[in-house]
Amino acid sequence: MIAQNFAYAAPSNLAEALKLLADPGAKVLAGGMSLIPMMKLRLAAPETLVDLRRVPGLNSIREEGGRLRIGAMVTHYELESTPLVRAKCPLLAEAAANIGDVQVRNMGTLGGSVAHADPAADYPASLRALEATVTLASASGERTVAIADFLIDTFTTALEPGELVVEIGVPIEASGTGVSYKKCLQPASGFALVGVAARIAKTAGKITLARIGVTGLSGNSYRATGVERKLEGTTGADIASAAGGIADGIDANSDIHASADYRRHLARVYASRAITEALARAQ
C-alpha cells in the first residue's frame, strides 16, 4: 500500500511540463485516481511524476467553432455539474455522473481517464458516440486525433512518448438530439461491466443520426456501427432487433464478475435501454 519512491514536479506552464515529460521515466499525474492506487499496489513505478495541476489552461471548458473544448484537467464533477456541459453536451455530463463516487469525481479528470484507456471506464462509450477529438501536445507541437484513432487497445493509446492529452473536443448537441448512457455496474469497483451510450436524432419521425458507443464489454471500447445502420432511416420501432447486434463479432471479456456470454447479453439489454431512452428524449 506504499508507492515506490519517485521524483515530483509541478510545472507552472505547458512548455515546462512537456520538457519534463520528454524523459522516458516521467509519467503524467492528473487526478491520480487510477495511477495512485496502481502505484500503491506497485503495479506502476514511474521515476518522475509530472503533476499538471499548476499548468494554466488545462481546466477550462469553452465553446468554440460549434464544439465544446474541454481541458484535460477538467474533473468528472465539473463535467457533471457545469451548466454549459449539461446543456450543450448532456451525454458527457451523464457519463461523468456515472463514474465511481463523489470523491473520485472530485479528483479524477477527463484527460487522465482518456489517457489511461481503461477498458471498463465510462467515458469511452460516450466519447465514441460523440465522435470526440483528442488534442495532444508535445515539444514538437500539437495534433488532434479522432477518439476512434486514439483509443487503440486495453491501456493503450495513440500517445507518443513525451506527448500529453491537453484537450478533448465534443460536438454541441443539436437541439432535438436525444442522448442516454446506460451502465451495468460491477458492484464492487463501480466500473462498467457494460456501458452503452446512445445519441439519436430524429427528423419527421425517422432516425437521421444514430451513434452508439460501448464500453466494458471487451478489451477496447467501440462504436457499434452495425446497430447505428440498423437504426438510421427507421422510425425506431424495432430497437430490440437493432440492439441485438451490439456484440456481434466482439471478443467479450470474462472474469469473476461476468462471463463473456452474460456480458454480451448485458450489452444487448443496456443498448436497448440506452437507445429507447435516447429515442424518447429525441424531439
Binding site: 500500500m1 506504499i2 515506490q4 519512491n5 499496489l41 506497485r42 451495468c184 458492484p187 464492487a188 469497483s189 469473476i256 464478475h257 461476468a258 462471463s259 452474460y262 447479453h265 448485458l266 439489454v269
Partner: protein, 776 residues
C-alpha cells in the same frame, strides 16, 4: 413510619444516545494504528504468493543492508515461538503445527514467510521487495469437496486424505422416520466463503521492556484476556508480565475473536530489538490472512408427513477449514449441527461433518458462526418441503413450531431452549406486510409476467456463549464496579465492544440500579491491566452474560451502600434508591457521594464491613439464551438481466428484554445487511491454484448504501429466564435471519419457472442463467 421514595423513571428500555460517540464523531478515538510510541519501529511482512509451495531458500542479505532496516526475521528465527493456537478440541482432531512464520513450506496464499523491521513503514515495505525467495510451487487444492476426494493434492503431506476430523451426532429414530415418511426432500446447499471485512483491518503494536521483562501488546481484538493468556504461552513469558490492550476496535464480526501469528511475531520482534514495533494489516493482507467465514457444502434431507409435519432431518456437512486451525476453526460447524432442529418440534436428526483441509486461509467465526449456515439450510429445506406439499410457507412453519407450553424445550441435539413464542414474530411480520394482500399482489404481478417473490425465514439461534463447559476457555463473564470517593462510578467489564455500544447499555444498567445519571458512569474495557479478567465480546454474549455480571456486582454493592448508609443515618432500616440512602423511619437521607466518601475515609466502619465500595462478580450462565424471529423479504427479479431487487424487508426479532432499543435496532440493521451481502453479493473465490481472486474491495462486494433497501424492524419480547436481566442477545440475529429470507424470496419469484433452489450469492448472472435454462 414508612417513607416512600419516588423511584426515578427506569433507564432500561430507553433510547439513550451513546456515550461512545463523542470521541468517534470528532475523530479523537484511539484505534491501534493511532498509537505512536517513542522509538517505535514498523514491520512489513513478506507473504507467499502461492497456494502451496516449497521454500528452497531465502536470501535476506539485500533487505538487511537497505538503509533504515533494523532487522529481518524468517521462520528459522521464530521456529521456537509457540504455534498459533487452536482452542477447539474434537475427538481425533488433526492439528497441524502452525508456525508464526513458515519454515520450509507454505500452505496458503498469504502465508507469512519473513518480516522486515525498519524505522519507517515506507522503508519496511521497500525492503520486503528485496527479500529473495527460491520458490518451488506445488499443486494446491481450494475446493473442499475436491480436497477430500481421492487423488487430491495433500494440503499437509502427513494427512493425504485432507480430512482434519469427522464428527457424528444422532438422536431418535432417523432411519425409521425416513423409511416411513410420506415425503422426503433432498438438497445440496452451499454457504460460500465470506470475508468478514471490518472497516478497521487488524493491527498490532508490541512494546517489550527488558528491564522488568514486561510486554504490552496493543491489538485490535475482541478477546484481550484470552489473547494475553495465549500469546504469553507462545512467547514463553509469564501471563502477569504481559498486558494486552484492545483499544478502539473498528469492527470485528468474529474475525478478531482470534489469536494470529502477528501478535506473537510483533512480541518476538520487540523482545529481539528492544524497541516497540507496529504492524498494521493492509486490506489486501486482511483478505488473504485474516480468517474467512462460512465455507460449507451441506447435503440436507428432510422427512415429513403429507400434512407438513416435519419428522426428521439428515445433514452431511463438508466444512472448508482452510490450511490450519485458527482459534475456533473446527468448532464452528459443530455449532451448525447444534442448531439443526431450528425452532421446529422434531427429534430425529443425524449429522455428519467432514472437516476438509484446503490451501486457503482458515475459516472461523464470522457473524453468526455456524448458525447462519444451519438456519439457511433449515429454512431452505422447510420452504422446499412446503413447495413439494403445495403448502403455504407461513402455514408449514406455524404447524411445526415448538409450542409455547413446551419450554424449557429439550432439543434433539441436547440443548434446552430457554423460552420462546415462535409464532408471534411470524404473525407480526405477516401482519406488517399484509401477507394475504401481498400474495394477491404477487398473483397479479405474475399474471403481468413479472417475477415477484415473497420469502419468509423464521430463525432461532444460540446466543450468550455460553456456559463454561460448552466453551474452550470459560464462558462466564466478569464485572467490577467501583464507586469512587466522589460517588461517580467506574465499571470494569471483561467484554470488549467493537461497535455494539455497551459503554452505553452497561451505563444504563449501572445508572438504573444506583439511581444515577448515565453521565456519572464510566465503563472501561479492553485492557488486561485495568479489567480484572474477562472473556470478550462474541456470540451475542456481552449483555446477557457481561451485563448480568454487572447487575449482580451492583446488587452486592447496593447491600454495602446500605450498610454505610445505615451507619451514617444511625438506622438499621434504610432503603437505597435515587442515588441516596433513606432512613425508613426518620425520612432522613444521605447521598451516595457522602456514603462513598465515608467508605474510603473509613473513620468508622459498619460492623463486619471493609472499607471502600468495590464489588466484583464473575457470572457463570446456567444455559445459553435462544433468541428468535421472523424476517420477510419481498423481491423482484429483472427478467432481462437477472438482477434482484429487494422491494421490502421486514424483520421482527425477539431478543428478550431490550435495554436500549436504538442500539438493538442498529444491530438488526447491520446484521440484516451482512446477511444480504451473503445472499446477493459476497463471495470469497479461490481459483484452481488456490489464489484468492476476490482479494480486494475492487472485486469483493460488501454492500454499499445504494445496494440495500430500507429495513422495517419490529420486536416481540419474550424474556429469557436464564439471566436476571431477561436479555437474550441481538448481535447476530439479523445476519442469521436475512440470507434465507432473501433466497426463499427469489426462489419463490422464480418458482413459476420450475426453480426449486438457488445457491448464494444470487448474482444477476446466476439468475440469468436460470432464466435462460428455465430451471435449477
Amino acid at each position: 413510619m414508612a417513607t416512600t421514595i419516588a423511584k426515578p423513571e427506569s433507564l432500561i428500555g430507553k433510547r439513550i444516545k451513546r456515550k461512545e460517540d463523542p470521541r468517534l464523531i470528532t475523530g479523537t478515538a484511539t484505534y491501534t494504528d493511532d498509537i505512536q510510541l517513542p522509538g517505535m519501529h514498523h514491520a512489513s511482512i513478506l507473504r507467499s504468493p502461492y497456494g502451496a509451495a516449497r521454500i528452497r531458500g531465502i536470501d535476506i542479505s539485500k533487505a538487511v543492508q537497505h538503509p533504515g532496516v533494523v532487522a529481518v526475521f524468517t521462520g528459522a528465527d521464530t521456529k521456537d515461538v509457540g504455534p498459533v493456537p487452536c482452542g477447539a478440541s474434537l475427538p481425533g482432531l488433526r492439528v497441524p503445527h502452525h508456525y508464526i512464520l513458515a519454515i520450509d513450506r507454505t500452505y496458503f496464499a498469504g502465508h507469512p514467510v519473513a518480516v522486515v523491521v525498519a524505522t519507517d513503514r515506507y522503508v519496511a515495505r521497500d525492503a520486503v521487495d528485496l527479500i529473495e525467495v527460491d520458490w518451488e510451487p506445488l499443486a494446491a487444492v481450494a475446493d473442499p469437496e475436491k480436497a477430500i476426494a481421492p487423488g487430491a493434492p495433500a494440503v499437509h503431506p502427513e494427512w493425504p486424505d485432507n480430512t482434519a476430523f469427522t464428527f457424528h451426532q444422532e438422536n431418535g429414530e432417523v432411519d425409521k422416520v425416513f423409511a416411513e415418511a410420506e415425503v422426503v426432500v433432498k438438497q445440496r446447499i452451499t454457504s460460500q466463503r465470506l470475508i468478514p471485512s471490518p472497516m478497521e483491518p487488524r493491527g498490532v503494536v508490541a512494546d517489550y521492556k527488558s528491564g522488568d521483562k514486561t510486554m504490552t501488546i496493543y491489538s485490535s481484538s475482541q478477546i484481550p484476556h484470552l489473547m494475553r493468556n495465549l500469546v504469553a504461552q507462545m512467547l514463553g513469558i509469564a501471563d502477569n508480565r504481559l498486558r494486552v490492550v484492545a483499544p478502539e476496535v473498528g469492527g470485528g464480526f468474529g474475525c478478531k475473536l482470534n489469536v494470529y501469528a502477528e501478535e506473537a511475531l510483533m512480541g518476538f520482534i520487540s523482545m529481539r530489538t528492544g524497541k516497540p514495533v507496529k504492524w498494521i494489516e493492509s486490506r489486501r493482507e486482511n483478505f488473504l490472512t485474516t480468517i474467512h467465514g462460512r465455507g460449507h457444502v451441506d447435503y440436507f434431507e428432510i422427512a415429513a408427513r403429507k400434512d407438513g409435519t416435519i419428522l426428521g432431518m439428515k445433514l452431511k456437512l463438508i466444512q472448508d477449514l482452510g490450511a490450519y486451525h485458527q482459534l475456533l476453526t473446527p468448532a464452528i460447524p459443530t455449532l451448525s449441527v447444534l442448531m439443526m432442529p431450528g425452532i421446529y418440534d422434531f427429534k430425529n436428526i443425524r449429522a455428519d461433518i467432514v472437516g476438509a483441509f484446503t490451501n486457503c486461509v482458515p475459516t472461523d467465526a464470522y457473524r453468526g458462526a455456524g448458525r447462519p449456515e444451519a438456519t439457511h439450510g433449515i429454512e431452505r429445506m422447510v420452504d422446499m418441503l412446503a413447495a413439494e406439499l403445495k403448502m403455504d410457507p407461513a402455514e408449514i412453519r406455524l404447524k411445526n413450531f415448538v409450542p409455547n407450553e413446551a419450554f424449557p424445550y429439550a432439543t434433539a441435539t441436547g440443548l434446552t431452549y430457554d423460552s420462546g413464542n415462535y409464532a408471534e414474530p411470524l404473525k407480526k411480520a405477516l401482519g406488517i406486510v399484509d401477507y394475504r394482500k401481498l400474495r394477491a399482489d404477487q398473483a397479479k404481478a405474475r399474471a403481468e409476467g413479472r417475477l415477484m417473490g415473497i420469502g419468509i425465514s423464521t430463525y432461532g439461534e444460540i446466543c450468550a456463549m455460553g456456559p463454561s463447559p460448552a466453551t474452550p476457555a470459560g464462558g462466564w463473564e466478569s464485572a467490577s464496579v467501583r464507586i469512587e470517593p466522589s460517588g461517580k462510578v467506574t465499571v470494569m467489564t471483561g467484554i470488549k465492544p467493537q461497535g455494539q455500544g455497551e459503554e452505553t447499555t452497561f451505563a444504563q444498567i449501572a445508572a438504573d440500579e444506583l439511581g444515577l445519571s448515565i453521565d456519572d458512569i464510566t465503563v472501561l474495557h479492553g485492557d488486561t491491566m485495568v479489567v480484572q479478567y474477562g472473556i470478550g465480546t462474541f456470540g451475542s454474549r456481552a449483555t446477557a452474560i457481561g451485563g448480568t455480571a454487572l447487575y449482580l456486582a451492583l446488587q452486592d454493592l447496593k447491600a454495602k451502600i446500605k450498610k454505610f448508609g445505615g451507619m451514617l443515618l444511625n438506622s438499621e432500616d434504610v432503603s437505597f434508591g435515587g442515588g441516596e440512602c433513606v432512613c425508613n423511619k426518620s425520612g432522613k437521607t444521605v447521598a451516595l457521594s457522602q456514603i462513598a466518601g465515608a467508605s474510603y475515609r473509613a473513620m468508622k466502619l459498619p460492623p463486619n464491613t471493609d472499607p471502600g465500595l468495590v464489588a466484583t462478580n464473575f457470572w457463570e450462565p446456567p444455559n445459553f439464551t435462544f433468541p428468535f424471529g421472523a424476517h420477510i423479504a419481498v423481491t423482484e427479479v429483472d427478467r432481462d438481466t437477472g438482477a434482484v431487487q429487494i422491494t421490502r424487508y421486514v424483520a421482527v426479532d425477539d431478543c428478550g428484554k431490550i435495554i436500549n432499543p436504538m442500539i438493538v435496532t442498529g444491530q438488526v440493521h447491520g446484521g440484516v445487511v451482512q446477511g444480504m451481502g451473503q445472499a446477493l453479493f459476497e463471495h470469497g473465490i479461490y481459483d484452481e491454484n488456490a489464489q484468492l481472486i476476490s482479494g480486494e474491495f475492487m472485486d469483493y462486494t460488501i454492500p454499499k448504501a445504494t445496494m440495500v433497501p430500507w429495513i422495517e424492524t419490529d420486536h416481540t419480547v419474550t424474556p429469557s429466564p436464564v439471566n436476571p436481566l431477561g436479555v437474550k442477545g441481538v448481535g447476530e440475529a439479523g445476519t442469521i435471519g436475512a440470507s434465507p429470507a432473501i433466497v426463499n424470496s427469489v426462489v419463490d419469484a422464480l418458482s413459476p419457472l420450475g426453480v426449486k433452489h438457488l445457491d448464494m450469492p444470487l448474482s444477476p448472472e446466476s439468475i440469468w442463467k436460470v432464466l435462460q435454462g428455465g430451471r435449477a
